[in-house]
């Protein structure tokens, strides 16, 4: 059921490039892993999905601004910066 097509789909969702060899290896690994994961499909119960405990509205952060960081600190770990902005190949 888990096949190379599924690996390609997940690779696209994951934005990870794979060579043909890597794809084959990943498909093999994933086949075994998914077989283990299939265990949960047999779990039959009507319990609710887990959710974090809710917090009271009154405890939320009150709305007042603070200083932002220096632009220099925001961009210092980027490889390609222009006009204090992060550069990518042109989109759309």
């Amino acid at each position: 059921m888990f096949d190379a097509e599924m690996t390609r789909h997940l690779a696209e969702l994951s934005k990870i490039e794979f060579t043909a060899d890597e794809l084959e290896k990943m498909t093999a690994d994933m086949t075994g892993i998914i077989a283990l994961m299939d265990k949960v499909c047999g779990f039959d119960t009507s319990v609710k999905p887990y959710a974090l405990d809710a917090v009271d509205y009154k405890e939320l952060r009150s709305d007042s601004h603070e200083d932002s960081y220096d632009t220099e600190d925001i961009i210092r770990n980027a490889d390609n910066v222009k006009n204090n902005s992060f550069v990518v190949p042109k989109v759309v």
Binding site: H9, E12, L13, K15, A51, L52, D53, A54, V55, D56, Y57, K58, L60, R61, S62, D63, S64, H65, E66, S68, Y69, T71, I74, I75, K82, N83, N84, S85, F86, V87, V88, P89, K90, V91, V92
Partner: protein, 474 residues
């Protein structure tokens, strides 16, 4: 064939908070690239979102403004996709448990448009494209600006209904202080989902989503264009493709956007970093109590109880501050019509000429109430009232004092008036004769002479009576 358009809206509104929705950076428009950014809103590793209470409050107010149920329990989810304006590669939004559900607004008189939901989410950054270098540059100042998204049911059947809805919702949100609703600045953004079907059918067609609509006019043009485009496709035996299209204001047409990802699978799941929010009954009541009277309610009051013409009432409510001013004035002097006239004609003219807003004027609603009373009591003439207002506008001051200082009070002293009229009759014997012989038109000339003689403080109604008596016509 003639087709029936079926339209639904998704409206994004930037909330008027002081700080961003998940961090404490200032929520503001414009500014140098990446100057209002911190590790949180730029998605640095190890950072966590902290929800802004006021974003929840304003979203709840938006719900109250649109007759939604504001839910006691709401929670956040992640919408996962890669795009360079989205530094975490997921948008925090509300998917499963939005804060507001099941609202409506009535448009075009009696058409009910249902609102499916209103949810809180974060805005993305801004991309600037450089065609020459073939690059896009990402600025994160807008990342984390709080938004609400208002999602309607596909209940619209015409562009007019859509425009009325957008106009009304923009005004309500402004009244409630939720959003400044400036379409041209992008603080209110309307996406239109539109399909067509043959008249009489109840099976919806395939819809297109139209983006980049930054005025009411653009919305109207885009809808008309889309109806045409989709009709041509169907008439030629084709099928409409479900896609996102961008409206081009210069050409008046829509073009398909290259799809961001070939498959849209956002993989929503509950945001593990933000606990769900509980609004108690007291919280909800506090927020509801803080709601101002909404424009549609005011509209009903003005046209009903106050008897104002529809267009006048519409003009007054189109600005909350203006309408608030009017309400304060009529509270002190319930001369609805007179005050409406003064404000819509004279006050508005001065505002337009000076470029000021009603909040900036040097006089108060009680001054306008007093001025209206002075006019209706015959203390000043209509024309003198205009002069009083001009001085109030330029220098401030109380209307009565201004009228007195400038000799604008109408005199009720008939002896001075009679002497002045006698003087005019004596000096214009020919005209008086002509009038007595049936030349009615010349009465106006004589009245003019009288008014010139008695000056602005003169009481024209009284003068007219006396003149008529003296020159012998009933």
């Amino acid at each position: 064939m003639r087709y029936q358009p079926v339209i639904g809206l998704e409206i994004h509104c930037e909330l008027l908070t002081d700080s961003k929705v998940f961090c404490s950076c200032r929520n503001e428009f414009g500014g140098g690239e990446n100057t209002r950014v911190c590790p949180r809103c730029s998605g640095m590793p190890g950072t966590l979102p902290i929800l802004n209470q006021n974003a929840v409050r304003l979203a709840a107010k938006a719900g109250f403004a649109t007759d939604c149920t504001v839910n006691a329990y709401s929670s956040f989810d992640r919408k996962n996709y890669f795009y360079p304006d989205l530094p975490k590669a997921y948008q925090i939004t509300q998917f499963e448990h939005p804060i507001c559900t099941d609202g409506h607004i009535t448009v075009c008189g009696d058409k009910k448009i249902r609102i499916n939901r209103i949810h809180i989410e974060e805005d993305a950054g801004k991309l600037v494209h450089d065609d020459y270098e073939g690059i896009s540059m990402a600025d994160y100042n807008r990342c984390g600006v709080p938004l609400i998204e208002i999602v309607t049911e596909p209940d619209f059947r015409s562009a007019e209904e859509v425009q009325d809805f957008v106009e009304q919702i923009a005004l309500r949100l402004k009244y409630a202080g939720v959003c400044d609703a400036r379409m041209e600045q992008g603080s209110l953004r309307v996406d239109v989902n539109i399909s067509i079907m043959p008249y009489g059918s109840d099976i919806f067609g395939t819809r297109a989503e139209i983006k980049n609509l930054n005025s009411l006019k653009a919305i109207g043009r885009a809808i008309e264009y889309e109806i045409q485009r989709q009709a041509e496709i169907l008439d030629n035996g084709g099928t409409v493709v479900q896609e996102t299209r961008r409206f081009n204001d210069n050409h008046g047409d829509t073009k398909a956007l290259r799809s961001k990802e070939e498959a849209h699978d956002y993989r929503y799941f509950p945001e593990p970093d933000i606990p769900p929010v509980l609004l108690s009954d007291d919280d909800l009541e506090d927020i509801r109590k803080s709601m101002p009277e909404l424009p549609h309610v005011r509209m009903a009051r003005y046209t009903g109880e106050y008897g104002l013409p529809h267009d006048d009432a519409q003009l007054i409510i189109s600005s909350k501050a203006f309408s608030d001013f009017y309400d304060e004035a009529v509270k002190l002097n319930p001369d609805y019509k007179q005050i409406s006239n003064i404000m819509l004609v004279e006050v508005n003219r001065h505002l337009n000429d000076s470029g000021k807003t009603i909040e900036e004027v040097l006089f108060s609603p009680s001054d306008i109430a007093e001025l209206a009373r002075m006019i209706s009591d015959g203390k000043v003439s209509n024309n003198a009232g205009k002069d009083v207002l001009k001085i109030m506008f330029e220098h401030g001051g109380k209307p009565m004092a201004i009228a007195e200082q400038n000799g604008l009070i109408m005199s009720s002293d008939t002896s001075g008036l009679e002497a002045a009229i006698d003087e005019v009759i004596a000096a214009n014997a020919d005209s008086v004769e002509s009038y007595k012989n049936g030349n009615d038109k010349i009465f106006g000339f004589l009245m003019g002479q009288v008014m010139r003689t008695i000056g602005k403080g003169g009481n024209p109604a009284l003068a007219k009576d006396i003149l008529q008596k003296k020159i012998g016509k009933e």
